[in-house]
Every structure is written in structure tokens, then in C-alpha cells.
């Protein structure tokens, strides 16, 4: 069975934020919530500036799932980590456990308390009926069910952001790093951030 993964090539990412805008637009994500964000280091320093597009990495041993007190997370057979917004109580424990800062919380009600969690679904919807209005309202588009790749990766102009079967993505990663004359045994950012410590 294939296992879905993201890979962002920091040599190609140009901090255009196209992925962020595409994600927000496609899923009608409210202000204050960013399922995907772009991080830039050494900004303005020639030859050293690098950017990275970050979202949920859909961990195989997802710590968010381990820590959730309502057990609202589930992992699909293809490795995509999803959650049930009907169960989520917005405690925020998943945010503390996540190595990548993927869980997002909007403000709700007159007191502005944090609402239920929202995160990248790999454009695979949620537990509601596939391609239904409820699913869109809760989780956004279900592009995987339509046979498409996630919106962020499909919109990436430089093809820095790639999504798909981990084995295939790894091949592209190895090809690119080998072409640059780099060590191909190192994994992409985020692929081993959590597992290294185990």
C-alpha cells in the first residue's frame, strides 16, 4: 500500500506563498488559520536564504493521535492522518505533541476562545460522507477522492512542493539531491524530525 507524503525542496522554494494561498482558497479556511505556512531563514543573505513550506507531515506514528484525549484522530490506509471535528473539544494537546506545528485553532464565540482544531487533510476530506457539503464545510475539498493531488502541490510554480506516494517522492528527492552532489542518505526536512528521537 502506498503511503502519502509531502516533500518541500528548500533549493526550489522561493517563498511565493502560492501554496498557502491555494490551500486557503481551495478549502475556504478562515482568517487566522493556516494549514500551510512558509518559513524563510537567512532572509536577504545572498546564497544562504532558504524557504520551506510546512504543513502536517502525516506521520506514520502520529503523536497527535497518541495524545488526543477524545481519540478524534485516525490514520487512513494510505497514511493520511485525519481527524473528526465533531469529536474534537479544542483542548490543544495535539499542538503540544505535534513536531511540526500543524494543528491550528480559530477563535470562536463572543469571548474569542479557541475553537476546534483544523489542520492539513492532504486534501482528503474527513470522516463525513465523501464529497458531501458537510465534508467540505468541515474539512474543505476532497481532491484525493477526485483522483487529484493536494492543491498546494498542484499549484507550486517551481515544483518545490511535491505530494504523493512516499516511495515515489523519495525517488524525486534522491534524484534532485544527487544531481546537486549532496548526501542522499539524509532525508528531507520533517521526514525524520520526530522519528530521530525514538
Amino acid at each position: 500500500m502506498s503511503r502519502m507524503k509531502f516533500y518541500c525542496d528548500d533549493y526550489r522554494c522561493v517563498d511565493c506563498n502560492g501554496c498557502v494561498v491555494a490551500c486557503k482558497e481551495a478549502h475556504e479556511i478562515p482568517v487566522g488559520v493556516n494549514r500551510r505556512r512558509v518559513i524563510t531563514i537567512n532572509e536577504g543573505i545572498e546564497g544562504k536564504q532558504k524557504s520551506l513550506s510546512v504543513a502536517c507531515m502525516h506521520c506514520s506514528d502520529a503523536p497527535c493521535q497518541k495524545v488526543c484525549p477524545t481519540d478524534c484522530f485516525y490514520i487512513r490506509k494510505d497514511g493520511i492522518v485525519l481527524h473528526d471535528k465533531e469529536k474534537c473539544i479544542g483542548c490543544g494537546y495535539c499542538l503540544y505533541a505535534c513536531p511540526f506545528g500543524a494543528p491550528q485553532f480559530g477563535h470562536e464565540g463572543i469571548f474569542g476562545v479557541k475553537g476546534v482544531m483544523d489542520k492539513c487533510t492532504f486534501c482528503a476530506g474527513g470522516p463525513d460522507e465523501t464529497l458531501s457539503e458537510t465534508e467540505f464545510e468541515h474539512y474543505g475539498q476532497n481532491r484525493i477522492a477526485e483522483g487529484k493531488i493536494p492543491m498546494c502541490a498542484s499549484m507550486c510554480a517551481t515544483k518545490a512542493l511535491i505530494a504523493g506516494d512516499a516511495a515515489e517522492v523519495d525517488k524525486i528527492y534522491e534524484y534532485r539531491t544527487a544531481k546537486r552532489g549532496e548526501n542522499t542518505s539524509l532525508k528531507p526536512y520533517g521526514w525524520e524530525a520526530y522519528n530521530n528521537g525514538k
Binding site: 532558504k50 503523536p63 495524545v67 484525549p69 469529536k87 494537546y93 505533541a97 491550528q104
Partner: protein, 315 residues
Amino acid sequence: MESKTFWECNKAYILTALGLVLVGFVFVKYLMIMDWGYLIQFTLHAMLGDTSGVMSAPTSELQQMMNAAFGPAYNTVAPEIIRASNERQEFIWYVFFAEILIFVLLYIKNGRVNPTITKPNDTVQVFTSFQRAVIWLNIGMISVLVLTGFNITWSLRSEGGDLPRLLREFHELTGLAWIGVWLIFTIIAAKDMKGWRSNSTFRHFLPGSYKPSKRVIWFFYAVMGAGLCFSGAMIITLHPSSLTHADVIQFRRVLLYLHFGASVLIMFFILDFVYASAISVKGYLKGLWTGTYPREYLEQVAPDVLEDLKKVGRA
């Protein structure tokens, strides 16, 4: 005047410290998976205003990118947060069992003090309306915080949904409101500090020279309450944001851990208060509600309180 030994004067403090050291040792040695070296370093950095969690400059581009994108040193604190959350779900029952067992043993050993009242109408006012309002507001808010807090801890049993989510929101809002009540109570707790005994304002807020066993309750209420108020307020204020995530996530993790630890410790002393006020002495709780106690009750159970009230002409 009868002179007391160091042990007699400080028994409650020593036993409390020994109990906490024993429990702390077992937890730190055998259960926790926290990187204590990092935590101590982080705390010192945070006290100096650096809450980023980056203890030293990154040595590689990879490390720099990881710090900027995900926040530093994931494996130092986060795994313990996961362990502690699961432990609270599964094993907190045992903590309560042990605590209640201690009180049952105390009850078997000491029984219930039942003062003989022959003149129930000869009463003395001990608590003013303001004091009673603060005390009962505190009791009410703590009850709400405990129940709504357990609602979060044990939501595996409720399976989440709208009501548990509403209760979680209520926990946060009640917690913010409790900060004021906690502050007033902390002043009460401070009133009996030995250095301030001559200060009439503190001395007369609650009369009586409290025994160490009661002072310990107040002390832990004040200190653990401070931990809960600070961590709770900061957790709510530092609302999760994708833009600031890497800068504050480690600080938030440490704050959540502080919240976990302070809530467990304060619970023991809250139960101690419940035992002392509702079970160990008959009639105490009623007086806490009405504000007055029979003079004979005070003569037999709390002569120090009566003595203080006489000094200020209230008895």
C-alpha cells in the same frame, strides 16, 4: 510556657516535604521522560526573557531550519507531555484512591471532633460577609474548574462533542475569572506568615494563629494557584498561530506541564481542605456558610480564634 521541640513545631512541614520528595523521586526516576537538564536551562533562559527554547546557536543549516520551522528540541519536553496526558487518562484514579485512603486512615485514628454545645444562641461572628463571599466564590469556582478540568482529562470517556467542548471553554473562562479570587485568597494565606504577624490588616482578616497543618494547605493553595493562574493565562493568551508557532511552542509545552503538575498537587491540598472543613470537625462548614459559630464551639475547637476576636472587641 511549655516549650516545643523543632519536630513538634514543624511536623506538618517535614511530613509534607518528605511525602512530596518520595513521590517526586519515584516519578522523576521511574516514570518521567523529561530532559531535566534542558528544562532547567530553559527555565533560566525564560526568566531572562528568552522563551524561544533555543539554548545555543544552531550549528548547521538543518538545525537552523528545524528551529525556525518547527521549534527547537522536540524530544526534550514533548514526549513527556504525551506520556503525562495518557497517564492522567488512565492512572489518576490511583492518585485519588491513595489520597482518600490517607484521609480514611486519619479519620480512623482521630475520629471526628464533636464539640459540646449547650448554648447555641451565644454566637460569635468569625467571618464577615465579604470573607464568606470570597470563600464560597472560591469553593464554587474551584469546583467548576475541577469538574471542567476532568472533562478535558477524561474526554476519552465522554468521546468529545459539543458539550465537552463547551465545558472546556468554560474551564478557560472560569480560570481567567478565578485569578482575582485566587489573589485575594493568597493575601489571606500570606496574613499568617510569621514576619507579618504584627501587621493588623493581615492579622484581622482571618483571626487565629493557624497550625502548621493548616498553613501547609494555604501555602500550597497560594503557590500552586500561582502556577495554575500563570500557566493558564499564558496558554490562553499565547493563542496558537502558524506565524509565531516556532517561537513559542516550547514555552507553551513547559507551561502546560506546569499546569498539569500544579493541578495534581493543588488537588491533594484541596481534598485536605475538604476533609478538614467538612469531615474532621462537626459544625465547621455550617459556620463557614453563616459566618457565626457558637462561643462554646470556638472555646473547644478554636480558642486562638476566639482570643484574637476578643482582642479586637468582636467577641
